[in-house]
Amino acid sequence: MTELLERGAEITKLARLLGVERKELDHLDQIPASALRAFREQATDRLFAGDAGRLRRVAAASKLVPVPLTVKVAQAAFGPLLCAATAGLLEPSHAVKVAAKCPTAFLADIAITLDPRRAADVIAAVPTPLVVAVAKELIARREHVTIGRFVSFLRPETLRAAVPEIPDDADLLKVAFVMEGKDRLDDLVDLARDRLPGLIRTAFERDLWAEALDLIGHLSVENVAELADLAAAQSDEVLTSLVRAAQDLPAWDALLPITAAMSGESLRRFAAIPAIQEPEVLAAIVLAASRADLWDAVLPLAELVLPKSEADLQRVLDLIAAVDRTDEIAALVAAPTPEPKRGRPRGRSKT
């Protein structure tokens, strides 16, 4: 599931780069996210490198012009696209002087087309208040993709100041979903720890389970465990919605490691949701465990939700047989069922 979501995010970013509608690239959804990312970087290099010589000369020429005049020319003649292409070629101190004189809206326009990899030194040199002002503008424009591209390039103190400027938990989930360098999602969670219950509630209320599951799937073992127990403490309505989302997306490969991280009490609470007892759901869980090798994660849950009747069990077997996976269910039924306990999710260790 995470892979499918990442593909979607990558296609969105590629469409933005090429200036086309997302639907024009729908046929790329058969390509893995890692390959899409590599191709997007190749295309980015092509677009930025094609005029590299001329852009370098523009950057050099800008130093001959007083800053106020540079700001005027930047807005009147160059526009945000070319300013973005030139930004990474400026000396960071000069770039910051120019940026400080530009309207926030124009800087936001530049950020939308800027390749942060090519302007990392400049981004790091921009004062925190200016970054926060631009972040607020980008949030107002719902530019989650742009913010997501920048997060990894911000200094920790700047990120700390910027996160509160994303007050809507739905915006935070959307930024996290498209964020590049998702190994820093734990940092983001650390800065928004008091908002974790709100993130889960928002995923339910705004139908953002895909974004929430993707976020959790990239976190450390410790953060997964905390979020797993927070999720299990939600109402039956929220948990049923989560089960339905895992079934419909499909996303059991993302959700099973989370259930494995639940405490025994939380897991029993989750397993008691009627929706999870449905044969179609149980079959999907077994198939996801088989495909993603998540048997360790599924066994504690399986002990609590195995079909209650022969008829239900037969229905599960039939559903699995329909995709020729009877060997997997046989392995599951034959496997020992350990006592429910806090499992070992497949997330990264934080240490």
Partner: protein, 67 residues
Amino acid sequence: MDDLAAAVQATPPPEFDVLAPGERTALAELVERAAQERSALLDRAIDDSLRHLPALVRLPVKRALGM
């Protein structure tokens, strides 16, 4: 080198081999079009920027731009 490799001036990831020839060509055309639009925009921007500069600084800037 096919259209797509020529467009990005590199070898695309092998996973892109699953695309039909027509899909590869269409994607290559999108990359080419974006590159050409960016280059044309740069041409216009350089011309426009010179018009905004006082005569005193226009000459050194034109030299720096290699014009």
